[in-house]
């Protein structure tokens, strides 16, 4: 029997965290979907809003505390107690970013531009905006709309659609 294939038609990706790695997981998945010709909607909520907030978007950080997968260059363990020292978080974040530059991974704002250029859509969560006292004008210019959870679900309908929570 022939296996039936049902290629993805639409992906809705939710980003709720604001660290470099959480935001880039969303951006890589989103841009990758756009590049495949899949309809793509990105939804930023809670701390994920930093990724689309003009003031924060290009200075995201990687958390250096409580991450057991974090290692020193060379592979030695990275003691959590080091992560609390001033400057360590900034240093680690700078190192992450320099590694990404080598792989032609752009800064957040440019990555969003790329997704938008391919027809992907970017949305913000209304509830989280209210919580953080953010206004539409605080957000990156390409944010299409501020949505309630109900409005988000309305645009996630249809066969061969997936909701992804990064």
């Amino acid at each position: 029997m022939q296996k039936e294939e049902h290629p993805l038609k639409k992906v809705c990706i939710i980003c709720a965290k604001g660290t470099i790695e959480d935001v880039y997981a969303t951006l890589v998945l989103g841009n990758g979907a756009v590049m495949e010709g899949i309809e793509t909607k990105l939804f930023f909520t809670f701390f994920g809003l930093d990724a689309i907030t003009k003031k924060q978007m290009n200075s995201l950080k990687t958390g250096t505390v409580g991450n057991p997968a974090m290692r020193m260059p060379g592979g030695l363990p990275f003691p959590t107690i080091l992560g609390i020292l001033p400057g360590v978080e900034a240093g680690v974040s700078a190192m992450m970013k320099s590694q990404m530059v080598k792989l032609d991974i752009p800064p957040v704002s440019e990555f969003l531009e790329m997704i938008e250029a391919g027809g992907g859509e970017i949305y913000a969560c209304k509830l989280a905006m209210d919580m953080f006292k953010l206004k539409k004008e605080d957000l990156w210019h390409g944010v299409k709309d501020v949505l309630t959870v109900g409005q988000f679900y309305e645009m996630c309908g249809g066969l061969q659609t997936q909701i992804i929570f990064t």
């Binding site: 590049m35 032609d104 790329m114 391919g118």
Partner: protein, 103 residues
């Protein structure tokens, strides 16, 4: 490996229809593959195709961003030239292997 006759020439292709030997590529072949993808190639298309062929030949990473920074077209324009999945389509038409990059 399978073979396919395009523009009167027998070519080595993989199961997805990508040429496995970029040296077999000609502009006529490009036009023929593009027609199958529903694209009528213009001079602008060929500039992009030459760019990505050149880049892959040099062993440089082929990303959508690199095309956007090529000076030939921006990313939006690239999506318009090769609608749907531009990087994959352009690679197929350019007669090179499918790009293995995630960006």
């Amino acid at each position: 490996m399978s073979q396919k006759v395009i523009a009167g020439i027998t070519l080595d292709v993989n199961e997805e229809g990508y040429l496995t030997n970029p040296a077999q590529w000609t502009r006529e072949i490009a036009k023929e593959i593009a027609r199958e993808e529903g694209i009528d190639l213009t001079d602008k298309h060929f500039l992009v195709l030459d760019f990505i062929r050149d880049r892959q030949q040099k062993g440089e990473m082929l990303t959508i961003r690199s095309v956007g920074n090529s000076g030939i077209t921006d990313i939006k324009g690239f999506y318009q030239l090769f609608p749907g999945a531009p990087m994959k389509k352009a690679a197929k038409i350019a007669g090179i292997t499918k790009p293995a990059s995630c960006v």
